[in-house]
Amino acid sequence: MKPSILALALVLALPVAANAQGHSHKGPNGGELVDVAGGHAEFVDTPTEIALHLSDEDGKPVPAKGATGKATILSGGKTETVDLAPAGGAKLAGALTKPLASGDKVVVSARTADGRKIQVRHVER
């Protein structure tokens, strides 16, 4: 009967998982906290850089060492890509040529050292 219980748990967990997706709220660094595979990613932008702060399921920071990422910015009909690199601690950052304007859209595709894929979409308010 154990496998049935497992399956039941799986079925029950599915809607929860579905709910979890796309659920976002404020993170500890003042940015948008997004649930990603194996933890959370917090998107923070300053006038000079954009950064992802990685944390695990419990919200503890995860070192960004070895992680790589790429951000695509859509601003005024033009796209621009920014490479993100580890910037100490749990931070994965890339420099901005100009600050994000309202309505600009940013998508980040990153990969951690252990191969987890992180996708974040952000719309500047």
Partner: protein, 575 residues
């Protein structure tokens, strides 16, 4: 059970044999149970919800502006771009896809989709796609992961290496016993072992050992049985998912409708926004003719119907006021006929006498003995009597003429030539098709609001103008009359309509078109929520009518949710 009962007072040897048989029975029963479990464990629940993803690699993303769904065939990705707001396909947009750092413009297809080809897309694993859409509604940047399945793994891999860690010995035994699939040989083996155990139990020396062996066997075999039920569960590879591009109902009640199907069904959505609307009550009504335009044609005396020169009027024929529709020949009963004959005879007799008198008077005038006055008196008398005779005999031949009471068309005819009708039978109804009324019954206070509409059975909407409210109750109901503004051609007198009369009170709610509300299997009102680009969720709602075309949702839909307004009934039929 019968064995046990008999053995209770039987010899010890018999009891032992009974026990052996019981063990045997258990052993047989256990695999049987395992077999039953096998089918159960193929739970469709987890498989189908991901079935869509497993058949064709697809991405499905949405933002505030656009919904993008892509399906991969070979190395060609077909993109369906729709507006998030109303699910309308976006054509003429500039779409580009970036995969592995390579940006490629997507070429528009004839059917309103966009296509892009790249060998990177077909690479197994999870590929990040960055999709840029520049359309009439604005520009957007979306990101999604396209998961392409690894090439099929060997089947053995799926089954092997699956051992529960908790009970190593038993599990190994189970595997060892369970690997060869049970068949006839398996049953035979069980029988043989059971026989051996039974024989051993009969012998005094072997009995303790046999007991232990039997017990171990039972545990091991029943264990195998359970192990079997579980095996099918853990197969990761999906079982056949035929055509993932087919709409299907998912186990949680929601419906998967792929974008190609949505475009064929023309599924459109709207975003739920609360607005203030005037409440309405629903009344049952029917179409009646305007009493001033049209009317009934009846015979006063009854009789036999005679067709006029132009023939009997047919249904739908346009008639003018005063136009002859039919003639009715009056019946004359036997006694009356005798009186008429008698009267005619009497008049004829008087005429004969008068004619003789007149001839005599003329002779006298000619001879100079009579006066001219007496001749003219007789002439007048004779003329009068001839007229009387004509009138009396005409009674039998002059029919009653039935004419149209008003301009209009023949709405109903219940008569054929030669038919004998009773007085006051309704023979024709003349209706003016341009002026029809609706009569409705209200069992509560008569609604006072303006802007009344009516809904016909086939879904047409009528605009109504209030005409009158009855001061006297009819069958405990107030009668309301409305004139139909610009009645459609297919509106018929007597047709039932649902009148939605504004109550004059207003309330806030989410207003949806009536077509958005469909009936669930239990007859409950539901709407379909567009939860994901290709997924629709049923939502039970409580609705109240606003007018013939709109309803207000009082509960069940939250602000900002997208609800299907067109094609909801088609989605509702997907099983």
């Amino acid at each position: 059970m019968t064995f046990l009962k008999n053995d209770a007072h039987g010899r010890p040897r018999g009891r032992a044999a009974g026990l052996a048989m019981l063990i045997l029975a258990t052993c047989f029963a256990a695999p049987a149970r395992a077999g039953g479990g096998d089918d159960h464990s193929h739970g469709p629940a987890p498989a189908s919800s991901t079935a869509a993803a497993q058949g064709t690699p697809r991405v499905s993303i949405q933002s505030d502006l656009y919904q993008v769904v892509g399906t991969l065939k070979g190395d060609r990705l077909t993109l369906y771009v729709d507006r998030s707001e109303d699910n309308e396909p976006v054509t003429g947009a500039t779409v580009s896809v970036t995969v592995e750092g390579e940006a490629m413009p997507a070429a528009p297809n004839d059917d309103g989709t966009y296509a892009v080809s790249s060998p990177h897309l077909a690479e197994p694993g999870s590929n990040d796609l960055v999709i840029q859409v520049a359309g009439p509604d604005g520009e957007d940047l979306l990101i999604a992961a396209l998961v392409v399945a690894e090439p099929a793994r060997p089947v053995a891999e799926a089954g092997a290496g699956h051992v529960h860690p908790g009970m190593p010995f038993l599990a190994h035994l189970k595997e060892w016993l369970g690997q060869p699939e049970p068949g006839r040989a398996w049953a035979l083996a069980v029988f043989a072992v059971g026989l051996a155990v039974g024989l051993a139990l009969r012998s005094r020396r072997m009995r303790p050992a046999a007991f232990v062996a039997g017990a171990v066997l039972v545990v091991a075999l029943t264990g195998t049985a359970f192990a079997h039920g579980g095996e099918d569960h853990d197969h990761d590879a999906p079982t056949a998912t035929p055509g993932s591009n087919t709409p299907q109902r998912l186990p949680d009640g929601s419906v998967f409708v792929p974008k190609p199907s949505q475009r064929i069904l023309e599924v459109r959505t709207t975003t739920a926004k609360p607005t203030e609307v005037e409440g309405a009550t629903r009344l049952i009504g029917k179409v009646i003719p305007d009493p001033n335009r049209g009317g009934l044609v009846q015979s006063i005396g009854g009789g036999r119907v005679i067709a006029p020169e132009a023939g009997m009027p047919r249904l739908g024929q346009a008639v003018r006021k005063g136009e002859v529709l039919a003639r009715v020949e009056r019946p004359i009963i036997q006694a009356d006929q005798a009186i008429v004959v008698e009267k005619v005879g009497e008049i004829e007799q008087q005429i004969g006498l008068a004619e003789a008198k007149l001839a005599r008077a003329r002779k006298l005038v000619a001879s100079g003995a009579g006066t001219a006055i007496s001749v003219s008196d007789l002439e007048i008398e004779l003329e009068g009597m001839r007229r009387r005779r004509a009138a009396v005999s005409d009674i039998r031949t002059t029919p009653e003429t039935l004419t149209a009471p008003a301009d209009g068309v023949i709405a109903s005819t219940r008569v054929v030539a030669g038919q004998v009708v009773q007085p006051q039978d309704v023979l024709f109804q003349v209706v003016h098709p341009g002026s029809l009324w609706v009569e409705a019954l209200s069992f509560e206070d008569a609604p006072t609001g303006t802007g009344t509409t009516a809904l016909t059975v086939d879904g047409a909407t009528l605009r109504l103008e209030p005409k009158g409210v009855s001061r006297a109750l009819q069958q405990q109901a107030t009668v309301l009359q409305f004139a139909v503004v610009d009645p459609p051609d297919n509106l018929r007198v007597g047709q039932p309509v649902t009148v939605l009369a504004a109550t004059g009170t207003s309330a806030t709610g989410i207003v949806l078109p009536r077509n958005a509300v469909v009936r669930g299997t239990g007859g409950e009102a539901m709407v379909w929520r567009h939860a994901a680009p290709e997924r629709f969720e049923p939502r039970q709602v409580r609705v109240e009518p606003v007018d013939a075309t709109r309803v207000v949702v009082r509960a069940g839909v939250k602000e900002g949710e997208r609800v299907v307004v067109r094609g909801a009934d088609l989605i509702n039929q997907i099983r």
